[in-house]
Every structure is written in C-alpha cells, then in structure tokens.
C-alpha cells in the first residue's frame, strides 16, 4: 500500500488548502471594486515594497514558529542593525543582528528560558542599545544601505526583489535542508526529535540566529527606503511579523508553517493597509479593521482544518 501518488493539481483545491491565499484574493477583489486605483501598477508596486520589510522579518519568524518558539525581539533587532549599519556599514548591521539572535538562542537552549521571556528581554536590550548608539537622533544611511531601498530601474524596486529572494531562501531552508527538516521535528515533538539524535539545543541556536539575521536585513531595507535609521524604527513590527506568519497558516504550537503562507500573510497585511488608505479610512479605524481581519484570517484557517 506504500505507493507514491502524484496529487493532481487543481486550483480549487489549492485555494481550499490555502485559506490565507483565498483571503488575499477576496480582499484584493473587494478593494479593487471599491477603489479601482488599487490596481494601478505603481500602487501595486508600492504594496509590494510596503510588504517587503514585514515579509523578510516574518520569514525569519517562520523558522522560529515552525520550531515551536516565538521571537518578540525582531523589531528591536531591525532597528539596532539599521542604526549600527548607518553609523558604521551595512554588513556590520547584519552581523549584529545575527549575534543578537545567537544570544536569544543561547538563552533559550542553554539557559532554558522560555522563548517568550528571552526574546522579550532582547526586545528591550536591543531597543535600548539603539537609543544609546543613536543618542536619540536619526542617522543618515550610507550609499550602500540607501541602495537597498531604491529602484534598480524604473518600476523595479529592489525591496520587492529582496523580498522574493528571501522568500526563495526561506523555502529552500525549510524544505530542502536538514536544518529545515529538523525545525519541523523540533516544533512537532521536541522529545521525539531529541530521541532521534537531533541536537535540539544547537539547532535552536541557528534558528534564532537566522531570525536575527533576517530581522537585521529587514531593518536595513527599511532604513534604505527612508534614507535614515531612526531610534524608534520598526517598533511594534514584531507583532506584524507574527501576524503574517499565523495568517499564513503556521501554528504557534509548532511543527506547521510554510514560506508561501508567510509571504501571503505579509501581503494580506500590506494590501489591507494600502486599501484602507486608498479608501480614506481614518487611521484610528484602520487599526480596528486590521485587527478584525487578522482574527478572520485565523478563524478561516482553523475552520478549514476541522
């Protein structure tokens, strides 16, 4: 009975299996009908650029969530990396981000702290360091970082391309590497992973380091777009990143999640923000609507799983 069957591709089934994608399509349709300007090419590109920062951050978060953890520090790490990048050079910002992630990983696997607590502490420390280094002032980014936020050619924004690149890398790591396979095992059943010879602690170190690295990249892209790194940049972005991952169908109890889902999740948030602006919904109400949509998306997904 152990035969490999090739599943037939059917768009209907694909949508049914990807509640988030269905949600994205419906959302885009509704907005397009209410405000046709939404479909304007320049606007769509803007949506992509707006999604990029959250998406890159959320890809890193996907690793953590699949492995059964959570990373609350990504917003602060993004700000710290961007600030260090602005004060020194971009690559150093990336290294700092990865190091922050490593510290998270070490606290969690060797210090046995719950991920929530360890990364909550890092949220505060990294933000504090950003304020210290910046002395509370925004700092201009150099040419290299600014380039990250620019257009390669007319209608070809680099942030969008970077988002797609990170998407590809994330998919590869999750599905094609042993590290990815181990993430699913650790998140699905840490005990079984351990008894199968997986060095769970070492893997967690890498997983959180990756999240830190991705957050740093997101921070640099954000700074590049704005042309400067601010001390309060990316504050609260960790919540958007988590929302994107969860809207994308990952389970916060671990073992489930995909790169495509996270990409869709990030796009849902960006489309929604953009649409609400186009429809001139007052900012205070926008928050309410976004919250409702997050709940609806998660609900759709949980109903589909029954």
């Amino acid at each position: 009975m152990t035969t490999i069957s090739i599943r037939k591709y059917s768009p209907k089934k694909y949508l049914a299996e990807n509640g988030a994608l269905a949600g994205l399509v419906i959302l885009a349709l509704v907005i397009a009908i209410m405000q046709p300007a939404f479909l304007n090419a320049q606007n769509l590109l803007n949506v992509g650029v707006q999604a990029a920062v959250i998406a890159i951050m959320a890809f890193g978060m996907t690793f953590v969530v699949v492995a059964g953890g959570i990373d609350l520090s990504v917003g602060s790490i993004a700000a710290l990396a961007a600030m260090v990048g602005a004060l020194t050079a971009g690559p150093i910002g990336l290294v700092v981000g990865a190091l922050c992630g490593l510290v998270n990983g070490a606290l969690i696997s060797y210090g046995k702290l719950p991920p929530f607590i360890a990364t909550l502490a890092m949220l505060s420390v990294a933000r504090g360091l950003t304020l210290v280094f910046s002395e509370g002032q925004p700092h201009e980014t150099d040419a290299m970082v600014t380039f990250l936020g620019s257009n390669l050619a007319p209608m070809v924004p680099l942030p969008l391309l970077l988002m797609l690149a990170f998407f590809g890398i994330t998919g590869l790591i999750l599905t094609r590497t042993n590290l990815g396979r181990r993430m699913y095992a650790i998140g699905g059943n840490e005990e079984a992973a351990k008894l199968s010879g997986i060095d769970v602690r070492r893997q967690k170190l890498w997983i959180y380091a990756l999240s830190g690295l991705f957050a740093a990249a997101a921070g640099l892209v954000l700074a590049g777009r704005l042309g400067s790194a601010g001390p309060q940049a990316a504050a609260g972005y960790e919540l958007d990143a988590i929302a994107a991952v969860v809207i994308g169908g990952a389970s916060l109890s671990g073992g489930v999640g995909r790169a495509t889902g996270t990409l869709v999740g990030a796009l849902v948030l960006a489309v929604l923000r953009n649409g609400l602006n186009l429809l001139q919904v007052p900012p205070f109400w926008q928050q309410v609507v976004i919250g409702v949509v997050i709940a609806l998306a998660a609900l759709l997904d949980s109903l589909r799983r029954r």
């Binding site: 152990t2 490999i4 396979r181 992973a193 060095d199």
Partner: protein, 469 residues
C-alpha cells in the same frame, strides 16, 4: 432481546481512503463483542463513528443506550492531578467552585475499583503509561454507561492489570452492560468474547462465536494462516556489542549488568515499575545515571548524550509512540527519515515502509494512520538507521498478529547480519519466544537470567520476587 445499539451499513471515507465499507454491528446487553482486524482495518474508525466523533457517509445507527468510550490514544491532561483527570468535565462542585473534599473522597474509591495504587494528587504526567490507561478506564467506569467501548486498552497493560480489567469487564457484562472490546491479543479474546466481528479493509468479513479458534480468527483477519508466531532464527553469538556494567541510578535501578552479543536477541522482562524502561533510556543517553558504564562495540559511551550513543551505533525505539516516538505534525516519510537525515536514501525508505506493510502513503501526515501503523513508523525509523545495537521498548504495542511476525522477521534479519537486539517487553510470549536469553528485572535489579526455552511461570516467579538481601 433487542440490541442496545444497532449499526447497519456504516460507510466512512477519509478523502480517497475507504475506512469503513458497509459494516453492520450489534451491541447487545450483557455481551462482550470483540472487534478484530489488522492495523488500519477500520476498528477505531467504527468506534469513533458510533461515538459521534466522526460523521458517516452512509448507513444507520439506532440505539438508546448511553455510551462511554476509552479511545486508543490516551486523552488525559498531563498537567492535572489524577483526581482532576478522573472527574474532568464533571468536577464535583460546591457554591460554584470545585469541591476538592468531595473529589478527594470519591477518587480513591474509583482507583480502588481498577486496582490502581497511586496518589490521587499526583500529576498524571509523572505516571507510567499503563497507570494512565487504568485512569482512563476508571474514568469511563464512573459514567455507569449502558454501553462501554474499549479500544485497545490492554496494549499498554501488563498481565496483572489485564487480568483485573477482564474481571471488571466480566462483572459489567453480568450487570447487563453491553461491551465492545478491541485487542490484538488473541488469548484475551478467547477468555472474554461472546461474539467476534472481524474487519478487513473496512469490511466485516465474518462474525464468530466464543469458541472460535485462533487459527480461524487469524485466517479471517489476515487472509492467510500464520505458521509460526515467534519465528526466531537463532545465530551463533559473536563478540559483545552492548555491554552495560553495574549501571546504577539511585532510587531507580541498581547494579544492572547486561551483555548483548552480535547476532543475539536478549529480552528484558519484568513488571511495570521494575525499571526496564529506565535502564534502556539511561543506556541510550536520554537520562543520566550515577555510576556504571555503557559500551557499544567496546567503546564506552559518555553519559547523558543521545547523539554520541547514536554515533556509536545504538538505537532506541521508545515505549510511548505519541509522546516520544513520533512527530505527529509531520508526514510518514519525514518521520521515517528523522534519524538518517544526513544520508537520506529514498529507496531504502520505501523498501522498509513496504516490508513493514505500513498502511498509508509516505507523504501522508502520520496522525492520519491507525495506531498500529504509527507504531510501525517508529520501528521503521530505526531499522532505516541500521544501528549495531537496537533497543526495542515494547515494540509491538498495538501491532496486529500478522505485522508482528513481519517485525520479528526484521529482527531476525538484523541479527543475521551481526547486529544485536535488546528487547524490552511486557508481552511474555513475545519476550520468551523471540529472545535467546531473558533477563528478568524486579525492583530495579536484575532478579535472574533464563536461557532459551524458559516458561512464563519461571519468568513470573523471578519478576514478582521480593528483594530480601
């Protein structure tokens, strides 16, 4: 007499899988109705349809009796106490708050009924799996339902507890309760069954009376006779591959010395709580120990280091498949390749899955497989790793008679290739039939060693031995 519950033509699909195909079942008052069938035949699915957990695609269910079900997978809350688990959903209340005094009063009575000697305030997490099963049973009994369904309750129980359970079932039957009982132990069926419905591939292929022979049951469920239940092919033992010496963990086990040679199967028998699983886990590096040594192929292993143990050529199939063996969120294939991620071999993976006759697709989520097939995945994972020494802790729990023989054949093949197997099992015929020597443990010590051909009585005599010295 009218049946308490009548099910006719029950059909149930899971996607393309037809789990049940026009099954009829009567549950009569004062009768033990056994459901028998290979792993994946549809027994648990039928139970879940009767309990209303799954809907059905066709057929009718009529009846008026209240229903209590003990499902195949334990449904306890590990972080709550024994007493709280016993009364979950029906906690006794006073002024709107949980009435702890009442709970403390009633819990011991229930525990006594199933012969379980544990502290009602203990956390369920800290209990062994057999004790957890007895708590499930006690909880179901407390409902005083007209129909009681038990899905493989004895898979995790030892002789004593099984005896107790069968006694309770006989009592309930005499009181007019209708019972449905699922088990892969044919001897239990012969002791208690009034009627046996045999399922194969989701269809009912026969209903037998209480005097049915084992051969008849096997032929109906497997579709062919089984010649030899324990086909052990002994090898001439080679050099020692696993050497456990004076292993001691204070308060758990003491001075354990066991040697397993190449080509050998050594069994460890004993009662629940004798420390067998604890020794296996310590040897494999899951838990630490106080002193002693463990060596594989002459190389001593560091303490408390699973990776080193695996590298040295040791493997362990743990006793609790859901808690320690499987990643339920992953697919069959992902579970099978978990130990061998670094050198993956698709072809061997399919080969092993086929040899174990795992009923399910490689890319199917493992949680969709039947209990016995899940167990085969845990074993397959380690067969794929092909360690020098494989420790099997209750490897055939929930596995049907036919598939058991396949697993034994795979054990034979391992030893024929010069590997060694340490077999921990509460199934006496299995541990006696498949081992070349049996080490019996009692109270955390080695109580004695028996050579091939020992009887169950000899094993039990050592196992219940009180430590006098």
């Amino acid at each position: 007499m009218n049946p308490l519950i009548t099910a006719r033509g029950i059909t149930k699909h899971f996607g393309a899988t037809k789990a049940l195909d026009g099954v009829d079942l009567d549950i009569n008052a004062g009768e033990v109705h056994v459901l028998l069938g290979e792993n994946g035949a549809g027994k648990s699915t039928l139970v879940k349809v009767l309990a209303g957990i799954h809907g059905h695609d066709a057929g009718t269910i009529e009846g008026h009796a209240s229903l209590a079900v003990i499902h195949q997978e334990l449904a306890l809350v590990p972080e709550l106490s024994v007493a709280e688990n016993l009364f979950l959903n029906r906690l006794p209340r006073r002024y709107g708050f949980v009435d702890r005094a009442e709970m403390r009063r009633r819990a011991p009575k229930l525990l006594e009924r199933v012969g379980l000697n544990v502290d009602p305030n203990a956390k369920v997490r800290d209990l062994g799996i057999a004790q957890q099963q007895m708590i499930e049973i006690a909880r179901a009994l407390d409902k005083n339902a007209g129909v009681l369904i038990l899905d493989e309750p004895t898979a995790v129980l030892t002789e004593t507890e099984t005896d107790r359970l069968l006694e309770i079932m006989a009592q309930l039957r005499d009181n007019g309760v209708g019972l449905v009982f699922i088990t892969h132990h044919l001897d239990e069926i012969q002791r208690i069954a009034d009627r046996i419905t045999i399922l194969r591939d989701g269809r009912s292929v026969g209903v037998l009376g209480p005097r049915a022979t084992t051969q008849h049951m096997i032929e109906l469920m497997v579709g062919r006779p089984i010649e030899e239940q324990y086909p052990r092919a002994q090898q001439r033992p080679g050099q020692p591959l696993l050497r456990i010496e004076n292993l001691t963990k204070r308060g758990v086990f003491e001075n354990i010395s066991i040697e397993v040679h190449a080509g050998e199967v050594v069994g460890i028998a004993g009662l629940v709580g004798a420390g067998r699983t604890e020794v296996a886990r310590a040897a494999f590096g899951v838990d630490g120990y106080d002193h002693g040594t463990v060596a594989v192929d002459g190389k001593p292993l560091p303490r408390h280091n699973v990776q080193a143990a695996i590298k040295a050529g040791l493997g362990l199939v743990p006793e609790d498949r859901k808690g320690q063996g499987l990643v339920l969120t992953a697919t069959v294939g992902q579970n099978l390749e978990l130990v061998t991620l670094d050198d993956r071999d698709e072809e061997r993976l399919h080969d092993i899955a086929g040899k174990l006759r795992i009923k399910g697709r490689v890319e199917q989520p493992v949680k969709e497989l039947s209990g016995g097939n899940q167990q085969k995945v845990v074993i397959g994972k380690w067969l794929l790793a092909d360690p020098k020494v494989l420790i099997l802790d209750e490897p055939t729990r929930g596995v049907d008679v036919g598939a058991k023989v396949e697993i034994y054949e795979l054990i034979n093949r391992m030893t024929a290739q010069g590997r060694a197997v340490l077999l921990v099992s509460s199934d006496l015929p299995e541990v006696i039939g498949m081992s070349d020597r049996v080490v019996v443990m009692a109270h955390g010590r080695v109580a004695g060693e028996l050579s091939k051909g020992a009887t169950q009585d000899q094993v039990m005599a050592l196992a219940v031995q009180e430590i006098s010295a």
